[in-house]
Symmetry: C2
């Protein structure tokens, strides 16, 4: 029987092929397994490299997201990986596969959205590749960034007892997608959720700030939803975690829309994905100082959502003092 | 009237959008316009970055090229860009869009082909992104390399009087594609041409050697065919060129197959594309020494195919002492 990709799943695929990728790697290089690859650069700085591919009808619908938003979002998802390493993005490279019938005005707006965000983020767009696609629009972006060696935050540094925090609301983007897919009326709250889905913001300033704090032990960005992303930290740090669903930070629009439509908003917040805020773990003895400093700097709190636990790689959810099961899991491209 | 991409063409597209990409670029960064982007790295070295996207049914047919060859070729086209800058490739990042129904054994062979070539070339595969594609297989590879600052060879350095050379046979890959598309019988010569199409070799050693010669004024790789590629050197160096079609180096298999099928082999050699040897220009006073050194080092000659001419950006072809027109032009993805 020939196994198919769909039976393996995205993480199965990565596990299957990563040995070939990790072969003979010098100790000063980090390849697969974190938000970005880390390479030696200058004496006290590392080079960060990240790449993401967006495919039409898998990651976006051309009928839903405007080209200017899409150009910005395609860059954002990569900037978010750099933010998760505590780094500063420096340059970006775009490969674009485009159907021949695509209008130039679509491309103009796409490039404008990307160029505006690049400029605002101090990123140089340095080129790439354009080609025809016989089917979907395909966007691949690579971002190079840099980080001081001493400030690098990996997924592997979490320890039992560390507190788990996020830097922004969870679930808005997933709820926005639901508004789109269920074609719900776009009143004020719904429109704001869709906006959060189409125009996420990379938490670059927050990432750089957290990276400069000694007590931050691990960091990554929330791309697939904390239910999936926290497991990546658990895998790399060989630990478990407990998350209190009552503590997940929910925005006003999400609360209100959730009530209106009867959504399980905590499930959306845990596994909706594409929030692009940061997920970090903090040593308990440093927590008070870091969270106070964060609030002073950014004018909003770091949200504490749970605790890193002992060696078993198990993720427990609690609500109203009871352990609960969460379904469904985070997004897997192949399932 | 809304202009379409197909009316603009690939180079028109690049011209249209490159201003946004070149904006506010520091003088020590080279973005669009050469084989790879050049960024400051260490005191005496530059970082090279190149990226290429391959789309099924545009760049390859899954029914024709085996997955192991495809994995190697996808890396080769990027290594060739690093070779063209005189650099050494160091690391590669793969983004892969794959239909869910694709068999795992196809992927195993694809990764094996890529990993074998990476290892042989001293390149670390450091990760990337995998995603589902609703249609074609999409492969995007990024390669980072490095080069000594003093050895960097750009497209912009050619001067009138310089001699134009190539480091290998021209037209084999284009002829191999013709064998495939016309489904010609695979006798020995045809099979070798197809092999040259499926398993091109990046001229990394040749590029590094030429980069170390002072008299080499410009260099790039032959990806679209010299008819298209030489025009890129002319654009960047603000010069014209004359090519003697009788001097284009043709392999034995191409000569024999050309005779058998009545092909215009010089047209194939000039515009077939995908040869992935290097095209360079050399100061006339250094030509003898460089070509003798090349032959001694590599056991085969550098082939002189023409001369850089005065300021008009015009490409002239000559054969048997007469000026001729060449048709058709090099490959354009959107036409």
């Amino acid at each position: 029987m020939k196994p198919k990709l769909s039976a393996l799943g995205e993480f199965g695929l990565i596990r299957r092929f990563s040995p070939a990728f990790m072969k003979n790697l010098p100790p000063d290089i980090i390849g697969i397994g974190d938000d970005a690859a880390v390479l030696p650069w200058k004496k006290d700085a590392c080079l960060l490299v990240t790449t993401d591919m967006l495919v039409e009808n898998v990651h976006f619908l051309r009928t839903e997201i405007g080209p200017r938003d899409l150009g910005a979002k395609a860059l954002t998802v990569n900037l978010s990986d750099i933010a998760a390493m505590g780094g500063s993005p420096r340059s970006a490279f775009l490969s674009l596969g485009i159907p021949g019938k695509l209008g130039i005005e679509w491309l103009d707006a796409f490039f404008r959205g990307m160029a505006e965000l690049a400029e605002a983020s101090g990123v140089h767009l340095l080129g790439g590749d354009t080609t025809r696609s016989p089917g979907p629009i395909v966007i691949n972006i690579v971002v190079l960034g840099q980080v001081r060696r001493t400030r690098l935050k990996l997924r592997s540094g979490a320890r039992p007892g560390d507190l788990i925090v996020v830097t922004g609301f969870l679930g808005d983007s997933g709820a926005g997608l639901r508004v789109l897919l269920e074609d719900l009326p776009r009143e004020r709250d719904e429109a704001r959720l869709v906006r959060r889905h189409h125009r996420p913001r990379a938490h670059l300033a927050e990432g750089a700030w957290l990276a400069a704090r000694d007590g931050v032990t691990a960091m990554m960005d929330v791309s697939d939803g904390i239910d999936s992303d926290l497991r990546r930290i658990m895998e790399r740090s060989h630990c478990g975690a407990a998350v209190n669903l009552d503590d997940l930070p929910l925005s006003g629009p999400l609360r209100r829309a959730g009530k209106k439509y009867g959504w399980g908003v905590r499930g959306l917040a845990a596994s909706g994905g594409e929030d692009y805020c940061l997920l970090a773990t903090i040593r308990p003895d440093r927590y008070e100082r870091i969270t106070a400093g964060f609030e002073k700097t950014f004018g909003r709190p770091l949200s504490r959502i749970g605790t890193i636990e002992g060696k078993k790689e198990r993720l427990r959810y609690r609500t109203a003092g009871k352990t609960v099961e969460l379904k469904p899991r985070g997004f897997d491209h192949f399932r």
